[in-house]
Amino acid sequence: MRAEILALAAQELHPRGASVAALRLVQAHFGWVSTAHLREVADLLGMSADDLDGVATYFNLLFRRPVGRHVIMLCDSVSCWIMGCEPLCAHLCQKLGIRPGETTADNAITLLPTVCIGHCDHAPAMLVDDTLHGDVTMESLDHLIDTLRNTP
């Protein structure tokens, strides 16, 4: 992975231009960006760890804390709100026994609210890991959770 990060940096006019791409690469592999990994990436890009952490903590999709095996990002922006995302979120929280921002005890699922994901014609919408789901209902959520709990 170090070689990949150096290759990303080499494509840029200045190495720090690769900071988001490098952090995304780390996250794709480890699920989140730990401080140890952040420091290594900062070294490779010639940045201070604090400088890079400023970038890492800035972006919604970069996780500086561990997440579960699956991440549900439920849209809470305006079109989804009108179409009833709040009761869906309450249902999820009750079913999973967690609040938004938390991970289930079995480490299967993290629930994160997210801003508009551009699927407003199929609101309420959510991203589950990399997959987009639209026209979400309580029933489809129940089915999804069962599936996620049973997949690694």
Partner: protein, 434 residues
């Protein structure tokens, strides 16, 4: 295009068969504009044609595209590092038009970028893509790879001497990256705070080099303008503006969706004919015509033509052209609270009025919606709407955008605000159930 379509942007998009490859794209009329431009037009001629087409930026601000390009220093790409950047960071709540174009016909964007880059003589192309658009990312990479293989990208394209290639930057989710100077800061691997202007990006942009940032829909129009001529394009619009526009509707309408229509199509026609009107049991109360950062207009103003000037005269902005409908059973204060929560969360934190003012507004709206609001909260909201809403009091347009639905909502829904405060509760069941 061989036959000039009345809906050029989406003519080749067919979800059933997926995006066209290079050969299918060419059969349907693609690459004609790039061949013409690189073979026989000068950069100045392209800028002139695009200016005459009356194309205005489709990202929200509506700046004339040809005019935007005209500020770029004129050296050839071989003599000066310059950038052409496609803004695909579509994060305006209620907006899903660029996703359609990116997923449906990514080669159209590639050709548009070649034309824009040639016009401003930029050798380096970047697509700034929002991180959540995974499918678009896959399809874009495939399209760029194929275009490169076929000689449409890379060294000396078509033997013209013009060299240009495209890199995809997958961002990691932050609304303000759609603001062009914040986008440049993000590309430089920093926290994406906006920059002061001047220098404008066209002279001092990415890594200090001249840079043009154009919205995806804007760029996708270029192949059609060059292939069919600026007069044809200008004639597609129903009013002052040229071309078609992708309009969309979300909320409790019968058929939420997006449609490519002549720019200047009346709002009523979009909602009633294309979105199928309201769902049974719901009345249209008001709407945001072009995304979360546009002012509310009410049900009496539906005959407004959806072009830049007409929507402005109606007290709002065309924005992204993607309308969000407030129905009679949804609480307007709840909706505004949701909008301000978004803006408060997405403030970059760089300037104090925005960083501290937006959460304050959100807390005031929380209190009113939850039934603990007081009369004096209304004065405070009004003060914020005035202070944060006026351009020049915050570093960028984020806070003024956030105040557009609040300021208009305070007027339009004055009775609802009063009822919440007097009754000490929300008279609606906000956002409840389908």
């Amino acid at each position: 295009m061989t036959v000039a379509s009345e809906r050029p942007l989406t003519a080749m998009i067919d979800p059933a068969i997926g995006p066209p490859n290079c050969a299918a794209y060419e059969r349907a009329g693609g690459w004609q504009a790039a061949r013409l431009a690189l073979g026989s037009l000068t950069p100045a001629e392209i800028i002139d044609r695009v200016t005459r087409s009356k194309l205005r930026g489709r990202g929200g601000a509506g700046f004339g595209t040809g005019q935007k390009w005209s500020f770029v220093p004129k050296e050839p790409a071989s003599e000066r590092r310059k950038y052409l950047i496609a803004n695909a960071d579509e994060m305006e709540p209620g907006t899903f038009k660029d996703r359609w174009l990116l997923e449906g016909n990514p080669l159209q964007l590639v050709e548009g970028m070649i034309l824009a880059a040639y016009a401003v003589q930029a050798g380096h192309g970047i697509v700034f893509l929002r991180g959540e658009y995974q499918e678009a990312c896959v399809r874009l990479h495939r399209a760029i790879g194929e275009a490169r293989q076929q000689g449409w990208l890379g060294e000396n394209i078509l033997g013209s001497g013009f060299t240009f290639d495209i890199h995809v930057h997958s961002s990691a989710g932050r609304y303000i990256c759609g603001e062009e100077t914040a986008l440049l800061t993000a590309l430089e691997g920093r926290r994406a705070t906006p920059r002061s202007k001047p220098p404008f990006p066209q002279t001092g942009g990415l890594w200090g080099a001249p840079s043009v940032v154009n919205n995806v829909e804007t760029l996708c129009n270029l192949p059609h303008i060059i292939a069919n001529g600026p007069e044809w394009f200008a004639g597609l619009g129903l009013g002052e503006d040229g071309g078609t526009k992708i309009y969309g509707v979300s909320g409790r309408v019968a058929k939420p969706g997006a449609w490519e229509l002549p720019i200047g199509t009346p709002l009523r026609q979009i909602i009633e004919d294309h979105a199928g009107g309201m769902r049974p049991g719901y009345q249209l109360r008001a709407l945001l015509p072009g995304g979360a950062s546009t002012a509310f207009i009410d049900a009496t103003a539906l005959d407004v033509a959806m072009d830049y000037g007409s929507v402005e005269k109606a007290g709002s902005r065309l924005g992204t052209g993607m309308a969000i409908i407030l129905d009679d059973r949804t609480c307007p204060i709840g909706m505004i609270r949701n909008l301000e929560h978004f803006f408060a969360k997405e403030s970059c934190g760089w300037c104090t009025p925005c960083r501290d003012g937006l959460p304050w507004v959100e807390r005031l709206l929380d209190a009113i919606e939850d039934g603990t609001g007081r009369e004096e909260d209304m004065e405070q909201l009004d003060r914020h709407a005035r202070m944060l809403g006026a351009p020049g009091r915050t570093f960028c347009a984020h806070a003024p955008g956030a105040m557009a639905p609040l300021a208009s909502g305070l007027k339009l829904f004055a009775a609802d605000f009063a009822a919440h405060i007097q009754q000490g509760r929300c008279p609606h069941h906000a956002g409840a159930g389908p």
